[in-house]
Symmetry: D2
Subunit: 343 residues, 4 copies
């Protein structure tokens, strides 16, 4: 008897859609991508050809209507997520959705309710939870290697800013970029954030400020268990993607360095040097994209909870909203202030 | 012709007094310790014997009255600093004083005025400015290696808390411990801090909280030039003294690791490991204590400004006061709010 | 028009056969595994099922007879390599063969002659040439980053010895294990080795000595261009697989560290530690196995020379034979002494 | 009662003489330099002034005749060591002598016999035994942290070659430079070397070859306990002084990295870099020069054996002679072949 493979439909053939398509067609056991949908049909066809996906379509509704498809992977623009989640849930499909679900908590809540009603699974694309470094830090906290956590530091700097057009639509630094770090903070400390304080500015590019956004920020987090955390964000680290974690606790500390394409060190007349770290998330987090998809497939297969839930997405978005308010009002903001939120 | 050596009197034969006495008697060229004063005459005598200092006395006034003595090194308890500075200045002595000068800005100002009136030199014991790592970071900022600074991080954790009695008299975490980091922040970024925000707690030892103090803190600094900084303090890092710096800027970043007694790495069945870093400031900053004293002697010899001024001491104390107020009032505090202070 | 995929037959369903089967079925573009042969038919079937290979057979001759198959990947025991290479060449198949081709130079030569006569391509499985660290060192030598090479060091230690039965059949330390390092030495320095000196012993397990082999060795290499190299081999490094390279030259040096599963460092009461490096070659060199196969497929597709030739295999085996003679006769041995070999 | 200080006379006011003079006059407790002798009287006077040594003389015999002097520190050229040691021993002085004692074993033996007859103490200037890294490696071997040693690697590269005139008088690479590494090998492994094999050449500067010397070498050592070691020497590492150690054993490995003036790492557009290591031995081994002298003073004070004996010097010189013979005769050379030597 053959083990049934999970038939997956992919919605969106953009950058992240391609990543998931490729991973599902090669490295993720137990799943088979059957359809890919994108309004840009040529893009869908190109990905389908490259990844041996049998069908490429323009309208994702066709995919939702297919009885063959058991699960969808939503990689479309953020402002379509809530609608597609609701439709997919109604169609009884299990759902993997890229972060964030929605730029509003109200929208997020509508999506989560639809998922709950339909009884389907939902996993959100916080892929960094599956990174070997993050997993190791979480493990150290979980197994008491470093005792009770006291301090957390997340450094998360991009190699260059996105286009201004993207920034205008992205929901801003906190909702677009820091949201990964908000989720990481909760993942590592295993306690909820109760208060957020932001010191931020526009130091990289004035055009980002003119677009109403920020490019450099320090965010202070206060957790329910007493831990105090910081997130350090910059839209431009000239030396490449800078992704480091540190948790300090009563029995010790754990911290991670950047990952590099090679481990060679060169000594020469002027200095001791090594090549730059992985340049951006596609290289740096390549393995975590595979791992999150494998985890989603396993959760569906074994009818187990997904490891990154809709609640996780909601909570991270609430932190993004609190961060923006803290910046605007120049004060610490309690998560309980954010509409509908109990801290 | 022989070069005249600077005759120095040391006031205080406690821990830091011994360090300065030893350094002056051995490694600092151009200076000779002639007298050491301490109300505990036995302590003064012991240090004098160990460091070949000709005279040990109980009352420092005798030292101030000696025509032989050209400069004093004040290592007595903080609450005596202002009085002794005023007396020493009146006596025409050049002054090296341990930090902080005074727990109040008013007291600090009285000391600074006396120094200004007398026209003597004053250097404050922010020894870390003379540490090779700090010097290298400052140099990178100064010569533009990392471009304009955007973000600063100072990690400064002690291996264990001082006795509760000490904590009660110390002026608290910010005035006693963070004050070094406040000075380091100004030294590295070369711009004044305008606003301070504190998230702090008692996570190490409840007795510290009962004494009215904090043992764990994150301090956010906003500088006039737009740089955003954080200081991470803990009274107890079980793995020893943790002293790291990072400045991130428009053209790159510089960061320092801890210094270790040896550079050996051991690979064994369980892990790859190395010995702990230097355990506390006596070992970690040993060379900087020599260098600051040499700098003081050079400043006196060549009638040049001292590299760490009374203004530096005043400014760091103002930051400590702002930090406490931020903690007490749970809000960001502008330095301009602190009495008499222009931000 | 569709690009034709290279149809591949795999001979051998053991450990390394599985690796190549999996890589060919997922990560290597342009190739499709069509058949797998193993006298143990169940093993062949199991791999076929796991890797979606349509046909599993017991006798590889069937595979060689198939007109569908354009290339073979030989993963059978070493003593079958020469025979299968000759048969595959006669059948006009392109050949990827695991190292070494043969424990004798005469056997190797027969295989190479058959390949030359048939005009097929042959690539040998020195996968480490495709490792990112090795590539980076080679690149530094090639582009003159470190000037003319003077000194080379290869550290290559296994985590544990193979079973004694394997050791008896393996051809010994030099032919089985050091052969990778011999090839690496030639690859990095880009000059031929002219003389070999060995200092070796049995320090890990007396049973290895009783089997006529060695478990610990230092091999000194003298290259035609004057470079002097060392190889350090041990059959048992308790901390895991230790694979490091260093080339020192007139303008600098390059060296590589071990690769680790994560980049986390833990500071605790006793020490600063990190987890062990990748435990053995399956993890450590996983990516290089993919890369070598992709290179083979590209060479066949584009009718270009393969990057690791039969001559490379012959030369490395000659070095292994010289190393054994050096050990037996306790003297430096010229490669020109090895039968039929011109240094 | 006052503790008597050891009155020391220094013979030789050259580079290393100055180092010992400065250390004895400042950092070494329990000793006082009273006289310094050098045929170049101006040099002696200059050092005396800088280090507050009361008397500077041209002829060291005057120093040996002084009843005030209890110990001598011999920093004169190597070809004078044996004569001065014999004279100093006759005069009843304790002796600290720079390495090597003599370029011949016969000369060395005459010096050792004189010392033995006189019953004075003799310590040889293998300062690296007092380096924190070397001490830590030795400790790991001694306390079994890495189990039984199997393999040793010493990397020891100078930043630039000495002048050709120096090379001609120095006794050659092995007697002048490698001798430190020969001693280090014995110190770390705690077993005698029985056989030496050398692969060496002239790769740095042809003028060194014309002077009859070598500038690049790999030396293989076989120890009585089975350990196999290598020494890697180059007269010119463009990135500075390269001093690293590694011992691999049955339970693990220990290795040391170079020491750096600061622990700062800079990330920039092109690479991740740090400043060069300490440039040469004066900086790199500064602390070990203090420590070896303190150890000598303690040995004299407490009438205990010195930690680096004349036998150590003799053994290292025998290894240097064996190394040269190995190079000349292109074969492994047993230490027992070296005249008068029992391996």
């Amino acid at each position: 008897m053959e083990i049934a493979s999970l038939n997956v439909g992919i919605i969106g053939a953009g950058r992240i859609g391609r990543v998931h398509a490729k991973n599902l067609s090669t490295c993720v056991a137990g799943a088979t991508p059957r359809m890919i949908a994108d309004p840009d049909l040529d893009a869908a066809r190109e990905v389908a050809a490259a990844c041996r996906i049998p069908e490429a379509i323009a309208d994702y509704h066709e995919l939702l209507a297919s009885r063959e498809i058991a699960a969808v992977v939503i990689c479309s623009p953020t402002d379509t997520h809530t609608t597609i989640i609701i439709e997919a849930a109604s169609a009884g499909k299990h759902i993997f959705c890229e972060k964030p679900i929605d730029h509003t908590l109200a929208g997020t809540d509508r999506a989560l309710e639809a998922v709950a009603r339909a009884g389907v699974k939902l996993q959100v694309g916080f892929n960094r939870r599956f990174d070997a470094n993050a997993v190791r830090v979480r493990q150290a906290v979980e197994n008491g290697e470093i005792g009770a956590p006291h301090l957390l530091h997340i450094i998360s700097r991009d190699p260059y800013p996105p286009p201004i057009a993207y920034i205008k639509a992205s929901g801003g630094l906190f909702a677009d970029m820091t949201i990964h770090d908000f989720d990481m903070a909760r993942f590592l400390i295993r306690s909820e954030v109760e208060e957020v304080y932001v010191a931020a500015g526009v130091l990289v590019d004035p055009a980002i400020g003119q677009a109403g956004d920020l490019d450099t920020a320090v965010i202070v987090l206060r957790f329910a268990n007493g831990t105090i955390g910081t997130i350090d964000n910059s839209r431009r680290a000239v030396y490449g993607y800078d992704q480091r974690l540190e948790v300090f606790g009563s029995k010790g500390a754990i911290r991670t360095e950047n990952n590099h394409p090679n481990a060679a060190v060169i000594s020469e007349r002027a200095c001791i040097r090594r090549d730059l770290p992985h340049h951006f998330f596609m290289d740096r987090y390549a393995e975590s994209f595979v791992a999150e998809m494998a985890a989603f497939v396993r959760a569906v297969e074994s009818d187990a909870p997904t490891p990154v839930t809709g609640y996780d997405a909601r909570r991270a978005m609430a932190m993004a909203l609190a961060a923006r308010r803290s910046h605007d009002e120049r004060r610490a903001v309690s998560l309980s202030e954010i509409s509908g939120e109990r801290a």
